[in-house]
Amino acid sequence: MWTWFHKLGSPPHFYRISAWLTPWFAWAALVLIVIGAYGGLYIAPADYQQLDGFRIIYVHVPSASLSLFIYVNMAIAAAVGLIWRIKLAHAVAAACAPIGASFTFLALATGSIWAKPMWGTWWVWDARLTSELVLLFLYFGYMALRAAIDDDNRADRASALLAIIGVVNVPIIKYSVEWWNTLHQPATISKLGKPSMDFDMLIWLLVMLAGFMCFFAAVLLTRVRAEVLVRSRGQKWLKQALQEN
């Protein structure tokens, strides 16, 4: 396990393995998202209360789940980089931020589009929405901090601290619908509880979620490879790897 972990932390090994893995994740994402979107739009039955408006769930929930998942990944990578001084971990954290920010924006935007016909308003300062907006600002803050510091090592350390401190917002977002009275509905899929959706609706949501996960993996690997190119400046293996391609 640890040998594998250390091997993956080596830039030459990661650069090679990520080049091989990226197309697999990309194609899996494309297939799953197309199937999930088709199933969600045309096969899943309409909700008895929200009618066809509920179909927004097939893009809103995967985006919102990914916005949290990516932040947790970013914080773990930042912590690994900070504790074990693995440079690749900082590259992973840096690559997570723009992807996470885009999914957080998407979760807020699709949520807002869904809120208008259901709640009669685009936005309310409700606990779930506000904490998700804070998450977007955390991503922006992380990227701004990295961009503001010229020295890579200092930028890595400072942004890692911000990522780790900001992780406190993740349980707040997750449990906000239980801790406070909010307009937002409770969790649709829960690990411990029974899902609040019928299986005919749920299956397409799970397919979309799997597709979004594969999409994240493909984009993350591409972005980390770009980071590795800069961070491995002047190293022999990089020259060999580029000559092989």
């Binding site: 998202i33 979107a37 739009l41 045309y42 309409a46 929200q50 009618l51 066809d52 408006g53 179909r55 927004i56 893009v59 809103h60 985006s63 723009p98 992807i99 885009s102 999914f103 924006f105 998407l106 935007a109 699709t110 589009i113 869904w114 208008k116 016909p117 999409f215 984009v219 591409t222 972005r223 490879r225 770009a226 190119l229 800069v230 400046r233 990089l238 020259k239 580029l242």
Partner: protein, 52 residues
């Protein structure tokens, strides 16, 4: 165009799905362009190092 009809919520459903498509495509393009620009820069730097 019946397949694009989602009753009274058509505009909301289509705009949410379209926005998702735009964000996904933008993510792919941004990541690919970053990788290809850094590959070009790295190749150029290595070539100039080899010359010197």
């Amino acid at each position: 165009m019946e397949f694009l009809d989602f009753g009274k919520h058509t505009s909301y459903v289509l705009s949410a799905f379209s926005l998702t498509l735009v964000v996904l495509v933008a993510n792919v393009l941004a990541a690919r362009s970053k990788l290809s620009s850094r590959l070009t820069t790295t190749r150029r730097r290595i070539a100039s190092e080899d010359k010197t």
